[in-house]
């Protein structure tokens, strides 16, 4: 336990080192809230790095979180591959038509250059701008879609499942192209000032593929990619289940696993066995209609289950909080972390969950 006040970077690094910092780090992964904060429509907000820098800095101050999250939207990566993005007024931008129309297209697929992709350049400018403002006091979390999960956007989930099962050679060719891209993209973000890379890998979740298939596919791809990424990674399953493979994910060399509300945080903590830290697992969908009292209860429950000994970054379970979640809830979460997240968490032994699962 550390009673000396820490900055966000110290707090996070201490927790990741499986030690107790001054309080549980709060990783509120908000993106679209930034557009509301600066008063711009979503598409316009993401059109300039300066908007995102301003938005993220305002959110950091407002919600008292412990990280900056200059993630724009997932399809900014497929834009680099020639795809397009569909912007909505009230939700995350969506990936347009698949860039791989037929499996045969994979045979001639070449990974794009990060330097040539305007959208990725805006993300890098945002990271540089944020780094200039916070230096080494606040972790800046970059994002890369895993090579194994990117094909959901590149070719559609149904066609991708068929590819995995039925066309192993084309699958391998696609993975090689995606690994090269993911590594270049991740390292560019780290060079721009990102502290770590959130490696989004929902397809690897046991919600989506069985463990035995993960061991032959997603895990091997992760090992090949993460070993070439020149900084720490957090593997995020985007609200999919991961308890049966948490040790397997740790074997990929990642430092953190983003975990689902569908699984018990205490069981996840035990399974992680101090080999990886946990990020999660508040329910971002349900959060939309939480009261302040519910927010406090959910925070207490998560901290009681997994806070002790460090190794917990409290956040939502999906890796992006929906913009429909109101400020009052996010502020209540911050208040609850301040109140109940201070180590040494003496209250935990005497606390009884009023609504146990």
């Amino acid at each position: 336990m550390n009673t000396i006040a820490m900055n966000s970077m110290q707090r996070t690094l201490t927790a990741l080192g499986q030690q107790e910092p001054d309080r549980v780090p709060l990783f509120l992964l908000t993106t679209l809230h930034g557009s509301r904060e600066v008063g711009l429509p979503i598409q316009e907000y993401f059109s300039r790095a300066e908007n995102v820098i301003e938005g993220q800095m305002r959110l950091l101050r407002k919600y008292r979180g412990d990280c900056l999250y200059p993630f724009f939207y997932a399809s900014i990566e497929t834009e680099a591959w020639g795809g397009d993005t569909v912007f909505l007024p009230d939700g995350p931008p969506l990936c347009g038509a698949p860039v791989i129309q037929r499996p045969e297209d994979i045979d001639s697929l070449q990974p794009p250059s990060v330097a040539d992709a305007a959208g990725l350049g805006r993300v890098l400018d945002s990271i540089r701008g944020l780094k200039a403002k916070v230096g080494d006091t606040v972790p800046i979390i970059g994002v890369a879609i895993s090579p194994f999960s990117l094909p959901v956007m590149q070719m559609g989930f149904d066609h991708y499942i068929e590819l995995i099962y039925e066309q192993p050679e084309r699958f391998e060719r696609l993975m090689q192209a995606n690994i090269d891209f993911c590594v270049e993209w991740s390292n560019a973000q780290l060079a721009a000032g990102a502290t770590a890379i959130c490696y989004f890998d929902p397809v690897s979740s046991t919600t989506n593929i069985p463990r035995e298939l993960y061991l032959k596919t997603g895990q091997q791809v992760a090992k090949r990619a993460i070993s070439r990424i020149k900084g720490p990674t957090a593997t995020h399953l985007a609200s999919g289940r991961g308890l049966p493979i948490i040790g397997d994910i740790a074997d990929t060399g990642t430092a953190v696993v983003g975990v689902s509300v569908l699984e018990d945080l205490a069981e996840l903590k035990a399974a992680a066995n101090r080999r990886v830290s946990l990020l999660g697992n508040l329910n971002g969908i349900e959060m939309r209609h939480w009261t302040a009292a519910q927010a406090e209860l959910e925070v207490k429950r998560a901290i009681a289950k997994a806070g002790r000994g460090g190794g917990l970054l409290l956040g939502d379970n999906h890796g992006e909080i929906p913009c429909q979640v109101p400020d009052e809830v996010l502020l209540a979460i911050g208040d609850a972390v301040e109140r109940w997240g201070r180590y040494p968490l003496d209250w935990v032994d005497d606390w009884t969950d009023p609504k146990p699962a």
Binding site: L88, G91, F157, D158, I209, R241, H289, P322
Partner: protein, 210 residues
């Protein structure tokens, strides 16, 4: 027939097409095609759906199982077969977002269970409401992945309650799994936790509508 269900289900989960085909053919030696579907395919897909809800089977297995069963059933019950269940007039749609896998799975499982239904693909609210009225639907299945799309179901339900009284609307997809109150909030009649739920819902509504 019960003794075939578990091996059939396991052959589907392990993508053993040869074994699944063999077991289905075995069922056909004892029963008519529609009986084989109802006594073997439907229970096996129901069990797979429950296993997915519990976390012991993955979506990739659900998808491949549904697709394979759809092919098996198509061979013995083509769309024009009188034993196919064309009533109540039903359709499935992805509302607003672009994530098609859930709809594809439900569509396969419905067809593998002997139902015929329209596949509307992806639509926005106005187009969907108009198409439902034009086709005189009695059952609409809506699949979404994103929360904003789930919230748009509310407008679909409100407009169809006025324009097509008596229509039954079921919703499914991730937002509804993570927020147990959401299907009621948007005004749906029911939610499906898995593709197999869609079959039991439509079967129940079919009986109620007769």
């Amino acid at each position: 027939m019960n003794e075939l269900i578990t091996p059939f289900r396991l052959s589907l989960e392990t993508l053993d097409r040869v074994q699944a085909d063999k077991l289905f053919q075995q069922a056909l030696t004892q029963y008519s095609p529609i009986q084989a579907v109802e006594k073997l395919v439907v229970p096996a897909l129901e069990q797979i759906g429950v296993a997915w809800e519990e976390g012991s089977v993955a979506l990739s297995q659900v998808y491949m199982s549904g697709r394979f069963c759809e092919e098996l059933v198509e061979r013995v019950l083509p769309p024009s077969d009188p034993d196919r269940k064309h009533q109540p007039r039903s359709a499935i749609v992805v509302l607003s977002d672009y994530h098609m896998l859930g709809k594809r799975i439900v569509y396969s499982v419905m067809r593998a269970s002997g139902f015929e239904l329209f596949d509307y693909g992806r639509m926005d609210v106005d187009e969907l409401v108009q198409r439902v009225l034009d086709d005189r639907l009695r059952v609409l299945l809506i699949s979404v992945l994103m929360l904003p799309s789930a919230l748009k179901v509310k407008e679909v339900c409100a407009r169809l309650r006025v324009a097509a009284p008596g229509i039954r609307i079921a919703v499914g997809g991730a937002p509804f799994l993570f927020d147990a109150q959401l299907w009621q909030e948007v005004g749906a009649d029911a939610m499906g936790h898995s593709a197999a739920d869609a079959v039991s819902l439509v079967q129940r509504w079919m009986e109620e509508m007769q």
